[in-house]
């Protein structure tokens, strides 16, 4: 496939997906797919297009379409600037489509594990998109950070899901919503799931990955912030809201997190110089509103959150695309301090993005007005300090939105600029048009939000945003917001020092710092313990023998030893065996002393031959004979190897003295080893031989096998398979020796 074809394919696919979702929602009225997935685990592949799913799918596919159209022009330019080939284009569209698909799957999934699967799929897609410019260190670090933060917290979602399954025996979300009872378990599971959602939505204290993720190409940022990834986080909260809202302290926790994110995001957005950074903090703050609304609870909270997501997605996507277009137009300028006065060069973009900015700032006649209306209503419903806090948040939004838009288009010109291709402005305009359309005719958007809110709230939510030209509280709050917003903008020099100090404080002691410190610390620690890792065979052996001794010791401690051990009588017939055994022991100990290898070989052989005697006394002539023969061949091989090795080398080894401390240590380990061999064999041998032993059967059946020697009968008949295995081992040994000594040549 030609790389250039990827963009049209992606765009067409996105458009079709959008159309299909719209059709499914409006005409087909939702619908469900329910298939068995893993029956032995009660997993079902259940997808349902309910209100919540429809909202997020429409965003994911619709904005996805806008982004792919934009990228069709943006990406080739981006690659050209970086001197990369066009072969990288399809990868981008592949992951955008994967992102879109997993997002749609996520929002429709009704099975907890299925949700988890799609959840992580979005993480994978975002990982590759954030790391799209993989050759840049910054890009790699950002991608890793996003993956670690969202991927690790995703495991919380899994644990929460499994806790719910353990308690209620189902992975089906609707069934769980029916069955679950408030309590510690539900609270714990809900909290874990909320953590996953909050991390993905870049809420405090997980917010740090999002500004970093701006290392991605602009279309990715636009998509990530508005319709996928970050939106997935609040979606998850919405999806599990019926479970979460059963625990009061969880809602309070959401309030705190939401407020914190609003404050941190808002204040930092006022101080950032880089365009996309400003927008990133804005996103943190905006989703803070949504989380805040979830925390407020009530039907206004539920519908408000949904509506807010729509309004924000449209506006934010447009603003990001604007940022990308501006940077493209100014040959790569990203800093607000170096931009300005582009109204003449980019008039169309100015107007188009102006609509979106107005929407984000919640001016009347834009869809944004209603998002704040619902927001204020929710706060009012809760009462207390919350309306004031809501206004404060809205003021921040108003201020930084103005800063963004005016900083680009107004004031004096500070950089060279040229026009940008239509494909990069039309999507901005289209999104801006939607923002205005929503402001003029809010009903369809409101209906969608309401349907979503119903799912979230798990009850009907009759809420109807509209313009009311009277002095109701919401309107007053909106007016207050504008007034205070203007004040904040005008008094910038007054507070900017404090805001920047706050930002620096965050850099010094914030969670991002903690992340890097722990990653660095982890690596340093890993290096440290690696230096302690054993790289010496002797110690490798010792670390096996030592712990085994400890385990055996523990085994002795934990089981009764009384009466388990027998010394065993020594009858008159046993004396030869007794002596032979003593001799074996003596010969074995003698192997420690010889320095010369040849002597060692001879002592070793003597151990073997005496053992043969022992075997004979045990009533095993066959074993004794084999032992003698094996020992003979072994001795020959041993001496052969010694002949092969140069005498000098052998002598060096022989004359190499062993330090005393080593000797003591080795002897200690050897004692432990001897101890456990002793413990295991003594405890076993103390057991009386069993009457019903299968050996009796062998003796009985040997004549049937036409054998007189029972051992031979066992070897060739009863347990012939063992013998076959045994000679196979010998055969492989020959093969191995041939491999080692003559490159596998057997003749």
């Amino acid at each position: 496939m030609r790389p250039r074809l990827a963009a049209p394919v992606g765009a067409v696919f996105a458009a079709l997906a959008f159309a299909a979702t719209l059709w499914g929602w409006l005409l087909a009225g939702g619908g469900t797919v329910d298939l068995p997935w893993a029956p032995s685990w009660d997993l079902r592949f259940t997808l349902a297009l309910d209100g919540l799913a429809a909202l997020y799918s429409l965003l994911a596919t619709g904005i996805g379409f806008a982004v792919t159209v934009y990228a069709s022009r943006y990406l080739p330019l981006h690659l050209e600037h970086q001197g990369r080939s066009e072969a990288d284009i399809p990868r981008f569209h592949f992951f955008i489509l994967m992102f879109m698909g997993s997002m749609v799957g996520l929002v429709m999934a009704q099975d907890l594990i299925l949700i988890f699967v799609f959840w992580d799929l979005t993480a994978i897609a975002s990982y590759y998109l954030i790391g799209y410019d993989a050759h840049e260190r910054d890009s790699r670090r950002s991608a890793l950070m996003a993956l670690l933060v969202t991927g690790i917290t995703a495991v919380c979602l899994l644990i929460g899901a499994l806790m719910l399954y353990a308690a209620y025996g189902t992975f089906s979300l609707p069934a769980l919503i029916e069955a679950s009872e408030p309590g510690a378990l539900l609270a714990a599971a809900g909290a874990l799931i909320a953590v996953a959602g909050l991390a993905k939505s870049a809420q405090v204290p997980f917010q740090f990955w999002l500004p970093r993720a701006m290392a991605a190409p602009t279309p990715v940022s636009a998509y990530l912030h508005s319709a996928a990834m970050v939106a997935a986080g609040v979606f998850l909260l919405g999806r599990f809201y019926p479970l979460i809202q059963k625990t009061d302290w969880l809602l309070d926790a959401l309030l705190v997190v939401g407020l914190g994110s609003m404050a941190v995001g808002g204040i930092l957005a006022l101080t950032r110089n880089v365009l996309k950074q400003l927008l990133a903090y804005s996103t943190i703050s905006q989703y803070g509103y949504v989380v805040f609304m979830f925390g407020l609870g009530g039907e206004y909270g539920a519908v408000g959150a949904s509506f807010y997501v729509i309004a924000h997605a449209l506006a934010k996507a447009a603003l990001f695309l604007t940022a990308g277009a501006v940077t493209e137009a100014t040959h790569g300028e990203t800093r607000l301090s170096h931009l300005g006065g582009l109204r003449r060069e980019l008039p169309f973009l100015m107007v188009a993005s102006g609509f979106s900015a107005a929407g984000l700032a919640a001016l009347p006649l834009t869809i944004g007005f209603f998002k704040d209306e619902l927001f204020f209503e929710a706060a009012l419903e809760r009462g207390g300090v919350f309306p004031a806090l809501a206004v404060a948040g809205a003021v921040l939004t108003f201020a930084y939105t103005w800063r963004f838009w005016s900083g680009i288009f107004l004031g004096e010109r500070r950089s060279e600029a040229h026009g940008v291709p239509a494909a990069m402005t039309v999507p901005v305009a289209a999104l801006g048009a939607l923002v205005i359309a929503g402001g003029l005719y809010v009903a369809p958007f409101a209906r969608l939000a309401q349907a979503a809110g119903e799912v979230t709230f798990n009850a009907p939510t009759p809420i109807d945003p509209a313009y009311h030209l009277d002095a109701r509280a919401e309107n007053l709050m909106a007016l207050a917001t504008y007034a205070l917003g203007v004040l904040v903008i005008l008094s910038r020099s007054f507070w900017i020092g404090a805001a920047e100090a706050f930002a620096r404080l965050g850099e010094l002691a914030g969670p991002e710092r903690l992340y890097f410190a722990s990653l660095k610390g982890l690596n340093a620690f890993s290096d440290r313990i690696h230096d302690l890792e054993v790289r010496d065979l002797r110690t490798r052996v010792a670390t096996i023998l030592g712990p085994t001794g400890v385990l055996v010791g523990a085994g002795l401690l934990f089981t009764p030893t009384r009466g388990a051990y027998e010394v065993g009588a020594i009858g008159p017939l046993d004396w030869p065996l007794f002596l032979a055994l003593i001799l074996v022991a003596v010969a074995a100990i003698a192997t420690v002393f010889p320095r010369r290898h040849l002597t060692l070989a001879l002592v070793l052989s003597s151990v073997g031959y005496i053992l043969a005697v022992v075997f004979a006394f045990f009533g095993g002539p066959d074993v004794a004979m084999v032992q003698v023969l094996v020992e003979t061949i072994m001795a020959l091989l041993f001496i052969g190897i010694l002949v092969l090795l140069p005498r000098k080398v052998l002598e060096r080894e022989a004359s190499n003295p062993i330090p005393r401390r080593r000797k003591v240590r080795d002897a200690g380990v050897a004692l432990i080893a001897g101890f456990f061999a002793f413990a295991v064999s003594w405890s076993t041998l103390s057991q009386p031989a069993l009457e019903e032993s299968v050996a009796q059967e062998h003796i009985r059946l040997a004549p049937e096998a036409h054998a007189k020697d029972v051992v031979t009968a066992i070897l060739a008949d009863f347990r012939g398979l063992d013998t076959l295995g045994e000679i196979t081992v010998v055969g492989i040994a020959l093969l191995g020796i041939a491999t080692l000594l003559s490159r596998g040549r057997l003749w």
């Binding site: 002539p621 023969l629 061949i633 091989l637 031979t712 070897l715 398979l721 055969g731 000594l741 057997l746």
Partner: protein, 146 residues
């Protein structure tokens, strides 16, 4: 390698009895102590004596040494065949012929039963291994010396 004439003669002379003993142990194993394994080692020792007496090059010229790999793995194959062939008659592996309680055909004192064939396989492998391993060593020593 220099060895006395005496050694060579003794070595050559001892080879035959070694092989005979091995054969006896192999065949009689089912009745008395010893089996293919022992027989193999004894026969191999007889062969190895030739190495000591005649040196590596001379010994290598002897038939069994050159065929050592074939003998070893042929033996393994033979044993495998004894083990697996009953499957073709729908019997369990290692079903020996004649079965329990059936009459055994005697050829003198030699019993004609399949375990003996199995043992011959063992014999061949062990013989092949011992001679082969020592031969490989001898060759390595030879290579190092030249």
């Amino acid at each position: 390698m220099k060895t006395s004439v005496m050694t060579r003669v003794v070595a050559r002379v001892l080879l035959v009895p070694a092989l005979v003993v091995a054969l006896a142990i192999l065949i009689k194993g089912y009745a008395d102590t010893g089996d293919g394994f022992n027989a193999g080692v004894i026969a191999a020792l007889g062969m190895l004596l030739q190495y000591v007496a005649f040196g590596y090059e001379e010994a290598e010229r002897m038939m069994p040494v050159r065929l050592v790999a074939v003998i070893a793995f042929g033996g393994l194959l033979l044993s495998l065949a004894v083990a697996l062939l009953p499957l073709f008659w729908g019997l369990a592996i290692f079903t020996h012929v004649p079965g329990p309680g059936e009459e055994v055909i005697h050829l003198g004192t030699v019993e004609l039963i399949t375990p003996v064939v199995f043992d011959i396989g063992v014999f061949m492998l062990v013989f092949g291994f011992a001679v082969g391993a020592i031969d490989l060593l001898a060759r390595a020593i030879h290579r190092r010396e030249t």
